[in-house]
């Protein structure tokens, strides 16, 4: 069993002070479980300004890495710092995550968004909920229990909910996996807009087209190791490694 991060759940902190969380410096992170090494010696540095895409084959460790960065999982070795600070409540308060498999409360679509908007007045909560539903194209589904939504609708709800808290860093784990082409395009626009308003984007995707359209820089993982880090242009034009070249051509076989 992996050890979850002790996160002092009970401490409420909502500081969204302007001080930056970047650069994010990840040094030699490893994650071991009984007899298996899920992440090995992963190091990289991310700046605030870019949209980072993390790519790699199934089981490479992308989702685990996002969990570690979001403070949900404790690496078994290595460490990482946000602008020199280790993850603390203030850092976490400024992050939001869209999970690969959306976790939806057993409530209506709108109640799922309403729930995370604590700290606002009721009137503000309602207004903001409706605005976010509108943005996600879910207004007509507002009263539907979230768990009855279609696959794509669930994913859009999860994205809307993550944006609700106006995070400084947004982790997105395959947010468009179940979206139709036009919804995908919309979400990509939304990601760009969110980034433009000052939110760091860290996006995991299998859609290489999306990686090229949205990403500025690429972190390429394979089998728990960081294989390449480069700008999107460089990575797709001149991958430095054989693994990278093969992945782009869709050739890596597990």
């Amino acid at each position: 069993m992996l050890k979850r991060m002790d996160d002092g759940t009970s401490k409420e902190t909502t500081s969204r002070s302007g001080d930056s969380l970047f650069p994010l410096e990840v040094s030699n992170i490893g994650l071991e479980t009984v007899g298996q090494s899920l992440l090995r010696d992963v190091s990289f540095t991310l700046a605030a300004e870019t949209k980072t895409v993390i790519i790699g084959p199934n089981g490479a460790g992308k989702s685990l890495l996002l969990r570690i960065l979001n403070g949900l999982l404790q690496p078994t070795s290595g460490h990482f710092t946000w602008a020199g600070r280790t993850t603390d409540a203030a850092v976490r308060a400024r992050q939001a995550m869209v999970f690969q498999r959306p976790v939806l409360l057993r409530r209506s679509t709108e109640a799922n968004i309403h729930f995370v908007l604590n700290g606002l007045s009721l009137a503000e909560r309602n207004t903001r909920t409706q605005a976010l539903l509108e943005q996600a194209g879910l207004t007509s589904r507002a009263k539907t229990p979230a768990r009855l939504l279609s696959g794509g609708e669930q994913q859009r709800l999860a994205i809307a909910r993550a944006l609700a808290t106006d995070p400084g860093v947004l982790f997105l784990d395959e947010p468009c996996a179940n979206l139709d082409p036009s919804a995908t395009k919309e979400i990509e626009d939304l990601i760009n807009a969110t980034h433009a308003s000052g939110t760091k984007i860290i996006l995991v995707t299998h859609d290489l087209g999306q990686a090229r359209r949205v990403g500025d820089d690429v972190v390429f993982l394979s089998a728990g190791r960081l294989v390449e880090q480069a700008t999107v242009q460089d990575f797709f034009a001149h991958p430095k490694t054989a693994l990278g070249r093969a992945f782009i051509r869709g050739e890596i076989v597990m």
Binding site: T9, S10, E12, R67, A96, F99, V103
Partner: protein, 235 residues
């Protein structure tokens, strides 16, 4: 030996005798047990939710203790409350011994651990589903507990019904702290015990049948209410 049909006839006869004394006994049984379950749930459910979702030192031990307290012998709980409320006890001045209030206190202590342990079990799965989301959202302990209770509310009914079953059926604690005093603290189970000790087995069984029928009605009412609420929520 009393046969089934005669017991059944006796039970029906009892109910339709509209005997004021019997109805008063049934009323007191329901009032005491429902109040105890309400109080037990008020404290037990949040405790169960906390055990299901928060990690704190001693959680494992507390879980074992709460689970074990599902097996608190009613007689022992009755004795402890008796000693507290007895004239010579610390709370003797309140004069609560041999009153329905004392019975409610004893039954609340009896059902609270049961409701807490079963709530924990009901919510622990839900918590494992929500856990990463809640941690990612950095909810406070209280937000977590309330969210779990709200989302798990339909399942918690069974925990409350188990508490009700325990309360309405037990005789040991209410006998000791209530004293089974006629017209004051006599309830269904103490009446059944009394008739048994008098050797009136048929009457005791008929009363038992009445008690079980009432239980079934209470359960059916609450289950169908629950189902309706759930259906409306998921319409």
């Amino acid at each position: 030996m009393p046969d089934l049909s005669s017991i059944f006839a006796l039970a029906v006869g009892l109910v339709f005798s509209f005997d004021a004394e019997l109805y008063a006994i049934i009323g007191l049984s329901l009032a005491v047990s429902l109040t105890a379950v309400f109080l037990g749930a008020l404290f037990g459910i949040p405790l169960g939710a906390a055990l299901a979702s928060l990690s704190f030192p001693g959680r494992g031990a507390l879980t074992a203790i709460i689970n074990a307290f599902m097996g608190l012998p009613p007689v022992v709980v009755g004795l402890v409350v008796y000693l507290m409320l007895s004239r010579s006890g610390p709370l003797g001045v309140l004069g609560l011994l041999y009153t329905p209030t004392a019975m409610i206190i004893a039954q609340t202590l009896l059902v609270m651990p049961l409701i807490a342990a079963l709530s924990r079990q009901t919510l622990v799965e839900l918590n494992s589903e929500y856990d990463e989301l809640f941690r990612s959202l950095r909810l406070t302990a209280w937000q977590r507990i309330t969210a779990l209770i709200w989302d798990g509310r339909y399942g918690l009914l069974t925990a409350a019904l188990a508490g009700f079953g325990r309360a309405i059926a037990e005789v040991g604690a209410v006998m000791i702290v209530g004293g089974n005093i006629e017209h004051v603290t006599r309830v269904m189970t103490t009446t059944i015990a009394l008739e048994t000790s008098k050797g009136n087995l048929a009457l005791a069984l008929a009363l038992g049948l009445v008690l079980i029928t009432i239980s079934i009605l209470v359960n059916a009412a609450l289950l169908s209410l629950n189902k309706t609420a759930r259906r409306l929520a998921y319409a």
